[in-house]
């Protein structure tokens, strides 16, 4: 098996090969410098944000209202990115906001994908009644007007903070992953190596998560990456509509939603623009990484 893979890798034209293995991904990244750059950039950005937010910035000091510094412009009196109408440091808010947004997006992605993948594999592996039962549920959930229901739920939840937001959004995000994993697992589960494992008496659990799962890995990496990008968007969208986090918990979404006030939009750019650009750069990066990953999962599109 390994030898066969190697042969494909070394052949100039990859004619047909199962898209597996982290080498394929690595090779794809080596080929695509922009994706590589994006990947490293995102990692660096995340690390920087988390480090600065957790150890360097004092949240209380950032959120302290200082009326003398109301709408201080960037670069004036030590405010790198200026201050908002309450004199709160925008740079600090940007970093804390980015941390919160990333945290939310990562948590939702992990939560939704763990549920989705587990359910998908179970459905695909067992098939039959379990598969049918959950498929009905997924069919139902997938056609729901998700955004509307999230908004309704958000208004119901009394104490509504980061954790609640994560759970609410994650509750509506697992279905597509489950469906994707299920369809792949369904075909994979019919393969010989699975039947072989079964006859050898390997436990179902081991087959599902040690046998099946790794074979779906490259597909899942793509799915997870793109989900992550989507989840950053959902949080900002909700905040924009006024159903997101309170301003005392800054997130990229709350910072951007300040732009709703035309005066801030037109003459106080430092309040909303940095957060917008951060999102833009982040999403672009994820997209380039995602594209490279997708290429590595699809032999036809590989660069070489």
């Amino acid at each position: 098996m390994a030898n066969k893979n190697k042969k494909t890798v070394e052949n100039f034209k990859s004619e047909s090969s199962p898209p597996t293995g982290i080498q394929v991904v690595l090779r794809e990244f080596k080929k695509d410098k922009l994706a590589m750059f994006s990947f490293l950039g995102i990692i660096a950005l995340m690390v920087a944000v988390f480090v600065i937010a957790s150890w360097i910035i004092d949240k209380e000091a950032v959120m302290k209202i200082n009326l003398i510094e109301r709408f201080t412009e960037p670069g004036v009196s030590g405010y790198i990115l200026g201050a908002d109408e309450a004199g709160r440091d925008m740079f600090g808010q940007l970093i804390i906001g980015a941390k919160n947004s990333l945290l939310i997006a990562i948590a939702i992605t992990i939560l939704a994908n763990v549920v989705g993948i587990t359910l998908g594999i179970i459905m695909g592996y067992y098939g039959g009644f379990i598969d049918n039962f959950f498929m009905r549920i997924i069919d139902f959930f997938i056609t729901l007007p998700t955004l509307m229901i999230i908004i309704v739920v958000v208004t119901i939840v009394p104490k509504y903070g980061i954790t609640e937001l994560i759970f609410i959004i994650a509750a509506f995000q697992w279905m597509s992953t489950a469906r994707l994993v299920r369809s792949k697992a369904l075909s994979e589960a019919r393969r010989d190596y699975i039947s072989a494992s079964k006859t050898m008496g390997t436990s179902d659990f081991a087959i599902m998560f040690k046998g099946l799962l790794p074979n779906l890995s490259s597909l899942l990496i793509v799915e997870v990456t793109l989900n992550f990008a989507g989840n950053v968007g959902i949080e900002t969208g909700l905040s924009f509509l006024g159903f997101g986090l309170p301003p005392s918990t800054p997130s990229l979404g709350t910072l951007i939603s300040y732009a709703m006030n035309p005066i801030i939009l037109s003459s106080k750019w430092w309040i909303w623009l940095p957060a917008s650009i951060l999102i833009l750069v982040l999403m672009l990066g994820i997209n380039y990484v995602g594209q490279a990953l997708r290429r590595s999962a699809d032999a036809k599109q590989r660069l070489g």
């Binding site: 042969k7 070394e10 052949n11 100039f12 034209k13 004619e15 070489g304």
Partner: protein, 339 residues
């Protein structure tokens, strides 16, 4: 086997087809010269990756013009096909030259009816009107042995069996009554029983329309069955070329011998299969100087290879590259020398 004319239909001289990888061109077909005569089936044999399919697509100009460079001469009717523009080539393709693909399912447009697909070429190469084209389509379908032609013409590819599809492909290739047919592994994707039918069909059609066929294959069984002449390719080069009987009886190049050995033969039950292990080196790592086969036979002394291996005529119409064949022996597992 039909009568092979001596008239040269297609002459390939010093053909070099290179692919671009990161701004560098790597030849996949390197300095190949071949001739195809009228009413002849020329088989080109080799492992996958040896450049035989590239050779085929170069002849019909189906390669990607951005990433591929074709140098040398492919002479047909006093035209050098290697220098033709797309527009010029289109006058030949489907008319003078037909092409048959390996996998008839993917080679047919899944969203077009069979009849439409066959008729498409007729629009540009004939002056037939719509009705006449339809009639010609049915005629072609019957010619390739499809009995319920009018029904099949209205069907989509996915509704046909593999063999039927390949017959349709052949019908497409024949639609312009071509002088040359290039068939790239036409039977590989088919069941064994169907393979035989398709080969029979090809052969009978050739007798009928007297065209030259270039048959690309890795299957020596197929070669033995219908080819007139065989060229063996390795790493972009032709390493041996001979009439089919000569090649099977008297293979010279170690690679050819190894290939022939890989066919299980009933009459040599007791003989040990002797095959050279390893594979064709990748395009980028290919040694461009010296004998390209040397890396597969490391147990032979360097000196037995030519510096610039050339094809040597060793018999009537029998050419072999390099001199190493004269010194070749199979490496035995136990280290003993074996002839």
């Amino acid at each position: 086997m039909g009568f092979v004319s001596t008239k040269e239909l297609l002459t390939i001289r010093n053909l070099r087809t290179s692919f671009r990888i990161k701004d560098t061109f790597y030849p996949a077909v390197d300095d190949v010269s071949l001739t195809l005569r009228k009413n002849e089936i020329l088989a080109i044999v080799g492992e996958s990756g040896c450049g035989k399919s590239t050779l085929a697509t170069s002849i019909v100009g189906l390669h990607n013009s951005i990433h591929t460079k074709v140098e040398g001469e492919i002479l047909y009717n006093n035209q050098n096909l290697a220098n033709l523009t797309e527009v010029q080539f289109n006058k030949l393709r489907g008319n003078d030259i037909g092409f048959i693909f390996q996998d008839p399912l993917s080679a047919l447009n899944p969203l077009m009816r069979i009849g439409e697909q066959i008729a498409e070429g007729l629009i540009y190469h004939t002056k037939l009107n719509k009705k006449q084209r339809e009639a010609r389509v049915l005629e072609l379908l019957e010619q390739v042995g499809i009995s319920n032609a009018s029904r099949v013409a209205n069907q989509f590819p996915h509704q046909l069996s593999g063999g039927m599809r390949q017959r349709v492909m052949i019908a497409i290739a024949l639609s312009g009554k071509p002088a040359i047919i290039v068939a790239d592994e036409p039977t590989t994707a088919l069941d064994v029983t169907i393979q035989a039918q398709i080969l029979d069909l090809l052969k009978s059609l050739q007798d009928e329309i007297q065209s030259g066929i270039i048959l690309i294959t890795h299957d020596l069984g197929v070669v033995a069955e219908i080819a007139d002449r065989v060229a063996v390719m390795y790493a972009g080069e032709i390493i041996e070329e001979a009439p089919v009987i000569e090649l099977f009886r008297n293979p010279k190049h170690p690679y050819t011998r190894s290939l022939l050995n890989s066919i299980p033969q009933t009459h040599s039950e007791n003989e040990k299969l002797e095959i050279i292990q390893g594979m064709v080196p990748s395009l980028m790592k290919l040694p461009r100087e010296g004998c390209r086969f040397s890396s597969r036979v490391p147990w032979l002394d360097e000196s037995v290879h030519e510096k610039n291996p050339k094809l040597h005529e060793v018999g009537p119409g029998h050419l072999v590259r390099c001199t190493c064949w004269q010194h070749f022996y199979f490496e035995d597992k136990e280290g003993s020398v074996n002839g």
